[in-house]
Structure formats: structure tokens, C-alpha cells
């Protein structure tokens, strides 16, 4: 059965005009998100994952940023050309966002309850009193003890984990169809991270929200996402179901990501396999595959021509020349399911 698509991004290009020239941060990204589905965008800093997410919400500062081309179709409507005013009506009510750093993204001069109520008053036209009651309910939903008292407190009185819960409460207050979580647990400790991930999973099944989870930590997404999109230097290099990405990855960059993290349950102290070198400069992205210079499987064609998406199954694509029928067979470092 085809699931209904809530979001579709088609060939998105986003650039920033700086004094040193044009930074091509996102260079042709396409993906979709089904209703009530959770997907993850994985990649290193500077790969364009946050810019992609912020473009969907139209949160990138314009100028210097601009969406050069491509379409963002949300809930059946192309929002790429929406005015600021029209976007304002969608942001917060139809889409919510959770940011990485809960300390800098909450307003320090406003009590937490009021920050949750703000969106409700604006979008759902509730009275102040109704909105506050609902804000307390939201705090309770995200697992904050004493929600009545906590709603009247300022962000500095909250701990890191509780601030992130408050952020989630703000993002979900108007019951949005889409929730974008940009590194929601990066600033948190592991035990708190586990709490927050658990909460997001629980809320997803309770409220049927679609989630885009942005992270650099593959461990976080293993349990949470249904599909994974791997980005590198502004492009999607591989996308597929969680099983495809973890057990049958096709792109050398995905191999590198999986191999460079030590596994807690690995028996011996094997040498880590780092990805050598650093990501390319996005002022002048290379002509061919952006990963070629760091890739130990690179061939002549990799430097010459951009690889197209090779299809491995209905949902599994990788942009790598190794998938071409004429390419030499290489030994894959990832052995597949159940093998450590």
C-alpha cells in the first residue's frame, strides 16, 4: 500500500553569497517523507543537513542564503515560493522544529509556559488562559514533573534535559504534521539522550507526527528512523531503509561512517578505519564525485563525472560509480547482518 507523502523535496539547491564567493551548501537534494514516518539525515558538519532542514522551514537567512532552484512540496502544496507571511502561518502550526542547543533556542526572559502558549495563541486563537492550561498539559506530556510550577519558571531554572523537553513541548504544542529535530540530543549526556529519544518515539506513535531527525551519530538513528539519508558535501550520497544502510550499504562514505565508530559490543580492539583527509571546499565543489579525493576505491571516472543514483531496490539508492555494471568488484568492509 502506498503511504501518503507529507513532504517531498525535489532537486533542492541552496547557496549562500558571502564576500568570498558563493558557497554551494546544498547541491541537488531530493527525498520524501511519508505520513507518520521518521527519517534521519546523517552526515558530518558542513554536509548541508541542517541547511536542508532549515530550507524546508524557510529559516535560512535570506540574504545571504537563497534557494536557487528545486521544489519543496509540503502536504501537497509547493511552499518554495511562499511569502514570509504565508510561511509564518505554517511554521509552528503545521511544522515544528527542535534545535540542537536548548539553552540558546529558548527565550531566557520569558517563562517556559508562556513560550509554549505563544504558538497556541497565535495559531489556534486560544485565549491566554486556555493556552496556559494547554501549555501545562504539554509539559506533562513530555514528562516534566510538577508541570504547574514548572510552567511559571524561566529556562535557566531547567536542566539541559528538561530544556530539551520544553523545546519538544513548544514544537508539538499545535500538533504539527511535521517535526524537524536538528541534532536534538547532541548537547545532552547519554542517559538524558536515551530519555529524549524514548520520548520522541513515544510521541511519534501517540500523535502520528512525521519526523526528520538530523544527526551525525549513526547509533542514534538505528532504533528511531525507518529510512536514512546519508549526505556528503551538499548531496545525498546514499538513501535507503535502516536495514539497507546498516547491513548492505553501497557507498564508500557510508562504509567509512560505519567503520570509524568503535562498537561497544565489538570483541577485540580492532584498529579504527578512519576516513582520511577532510571534506571538500564548497566554494568550489569538485567536478566529479565530491568524496573521490578521500575514497580509497576512487577510479578515474570519479574525478571526471558526477555519479548518478544507482538503484539497489525500490528505496535504496547510492550515488557511486562502484554500482555501475562496468565497475570493478571491490571487497566490502561491511559484511552484513549479524556480523560484527
Amino acid at each position: 500500500m502506498e503511504r501518503e507523502k507529507i513532504l517531498e523535496v525535489k532537486d533542492l539547491h541552496v547557496s549562500f553569497d558571502t564576500y568570498a564567493g558563493e558557497v554551494k551548501a546544498v547541491r541537488g537534494v531530493s527525498f520524501y517523507l511519508n505520513k507518520a514516518e521518521a527519517i534521519a539525515i546523517v552526515g558530518e558538519s558542513g554536509c548541508g543537513k541542517s541547511v536542508t532542514a532549515q530550507s524546508i522551514m524557510k529559516l535560512i537567512p535570506m540574504p545571504p542564503g537563497r534557494i536557487k532552484s528545486g521544489n519543496i512540496i509540503f502536504n501537497g502544496v509547493d511552499i518554495t515560493k511562499f511569502s514570509d507571511k504565508k510561511m509564518e502561518a505554517i511554521r509552528g502550526s503545521e511544522m515544528g522544529m527542535i534545535f540542537q542547543d536548548p539553552m540558546t533556542s529558548l527565550n531566557p526572559t520569558m517563562v517556559v509556559g508562556k513560550q509554549i502558549a505563544e504558538g497556541l495563541i497565535k495559531h489556534q486563537h486560544l485565549s491566554k488562559k486556555e493556552a496556559m492550561t494547554r501549555a501545562v498539559e504539554m509539559l506533562k506530556l513530555v514528562g516534566i514533573p510538577n508541570p504547574d510550577k514548572r510552567a511559571g519558571q524561566y529556562p535557566h531554572e531547567f536542566s539541559g534535559g528538561m530544556r530539551q523537553r520544553a523545546m519538544i513541548a513548544i514544537a508539538l504544542a499545535c500538533n504539527p504534521k511535521l517535526l524537524i529535530a536538528d541534532e536534538p540530543t547532541t548537547a545532552l549526556d547519554v542517559t538524558i539522550q536515551a530519555q529524549i529519544l524514548d520520548l520522541m518515539k513515544e510521541l511519534k506513535s501517540k500523535l502520528d507526527t512525521s519526523i526528520i531527525l538530523i544527526t551525525h551519530d549513526l547509533g542514534v538513528v538505528a532504533d528511531m528512523a525507518e529510512r536514512i539519508i546519508v549526505m556528503y558535501a551538499g548531496k545525498v550520497v546514499e538513501s535507503g531503509s535502516v536495514e539497507d544502510i546498516f547491513y548492505d550499504p553501497q557507498h564508500p562514505y557510508t562504509w567509512g561512517l560505519l567503520k570509524s565508530v568503535p562498537r561497544l559490543d565489538a570483541e577485540n580492539k580492532e584498529q579504527l578505519v578512519p576516513i582520511t583527509g577532510t571534506p571538500p571546499d564548497l566554494f568550489a565543489p569538485p567536478k566529479g564525485c565530491a568524496f573521490a579525493a578521500r575514497c580509497k576505491y576512487s577510479m578515474e571516472i570519479c574525478y571526471e563525472e558526477q555519479p548518478c543514483d544507482m538503484e539497489y531496490n525500490k528505496d535504496h539508492f547510492a550515488a557511486c560509480w562502484l554500482g555501475h555494471p562496468d565497475a570493478p568488484k571491490v571487497e566490502r568492509p561491511i559484511k552484513g547482518r549479524g556480523v560484527k
Binding site: G161, D189, A194, H216, G219, D223, K259, R263, P274, I275
Partner: protein, 318 residues
Amino acid sequence: MENKKLIEVKDLKKYFNVGNNAILKAVDGLNFFIREGETLGLVGESGCGKSTAGRTIIRLYEATGGEVIFDGINVHKLDKKGAKDFTKKAQMIFQDPYASLDPRMTVGDIIGEGIDIHNLYTGKERMERIYELLHTVGLNREHANRFPHEFSGGQRQRIGIARALAVEPQFIVCDEPISALDVSIQAQVVNLLINLQREKKLTYLFIAHDLSMVKHISDRVGVMYLGTMVELASSTELYKRPTHPYTQALMSAIPIADPDVEKARKRILLEGDVPSPINPPPGCRFKARCRYATERCSQEIPEFREIDKDHFVACHNV
């Protein structure tokens, strides 16, 4: 044969006065030792005192109580000359590669500073030594004339490592050296640290909150909670048989990059947050979040005892 103990930490305490007659007990009674040539990992959540412990051990902070014995000498009882000699033996690599390098000094001068202070080399030899160090950490000699802002995070961390190596220390405290780096770069830096240890017989105190990386690099791992150490064992033993309830929860909270394993395993979710180290609760520090807490836990501080060879735990219920 076991190597000799290079560092012994005995009942180390570091308190900070935070005003209003409140005292923050960042480190409150640590006991452990580090053998020559081994890596001791120190893990715990933010605010557990692991960085303070590392800094107190190499005398960046004066200890409030207890002592640190380095190669037979008490590092907190040194005179001026002794203190200077100690800085040659023990060095530190910092967490933030952006904040820990002087932006107005060239890379060559940053690395050469220690060489100058200890009069190790001068003139041409000094420059040769700097080039050699740059080469050791995977940079090249042209980098010596550049400034820190011209480098990426991973490269800066390499500069920090070269600076620490410049005085040929025996012991290096690595305070979250990889937390600020991307995953693909982390592996590069960790491999570098492991190779340097093999070549130069270095001893490391490796501080991090990433338990899987700590397990990978360390021979033994200590787990800290709110200023005290709750468990210490060899890294394989700690993973196979975590004994303290906090270690168990910490282990189960770490995400594993394998969906099958991840879906099958059961998390021990800890409720609430780490309590404040200002006026910490009496008895066991962990009791408020512990599933097994009993009456005894709120009255008596559990002793840090050896339950098996080289496996120490501080818990009443083990």
C-alpha cells in the same frame, strides 16, 4: 609482568567555593592508580568531575585534600623548580581545539613554547624538532608559519597533540580530545594517539563521555558519578560485567549502530537528572536515581572495594 604504578591518586578532593557559603564538591575522594604505559579511561556525564580530576592530577588546580603521587613524588607539594620539572613530565590535550590555541601565535611558536621554557633545543635544532613534531602528528613543515585559524578542527587537535609531545612527557591527560570533532576525524585522532603511545611508551589518562570510544582506547576504565568513582575495571570486564547500577544504566543508554541489536535490547532508563554537586545528598550519591536503593544507601557512603581482581565498585548492594 605488570608495569609499575606511575601515578597514584589517594583520596583526592577538589572543592570550589561558589559564594553564598556554598561549596561545590567537584571531586570528592578519588582513589586509583595508573600503571606505566597504560591508558586509563575516565567516563561520566557532564558535571561528574572527570575534567576537574584530570586537571587536579596535573596540578592545573591545587587539590583541596588528598594527594597525587607521580613517580614517587607528591605533585601538590612541589617547590617552584619541582613544579617546572613536573610540567615536562606531564602534559595535557584539551577538549576544544578552537579555544586552547593562542590565536596570535604561529603554530611553530605554539609547539616551540615548551621547548623554549625547558631549554631543550635552540636555534636550528629547535626548528628541526618542531618540523619533526609536525610530521609525527601528520602535518607538514610548511604549517609551522601559519596561525591556528587557518586549520580545521581535526588539524588543530593535531597541533595540540604536537604541543603536548614537544617536551617529551611520560604522561598525557587527554581531556575529551575528540568530542568536538566529526566522526570520521575522530578515528584519525584516536589512531594517532594509539600509535604515539606504542612508539613513545606514553601513559594516558583519557577523559571522555563517549563510552564506546573510551572502551576502544583504554586498558582500564573508571566510571565517575557526582565527584566520586563508582566503578573501575578493565575495559572488557567493565563491558561484560558492569556491576554498579549506574554503570549498567550508562552502558544500556549508549546507542549501538546496529538496528537489530538496538531493537532487541532493553534500556535501563534513569529517571531525572544528575543532582547538583553543591551540597550533595548524604550517603550514596547515586541513590536518588537508583532502582535498588535501600535505607542503608541514604545513610552510609559505600566503600570503594575490590570485588574481583582489579574490579572495584562502590555500592552496598553488590
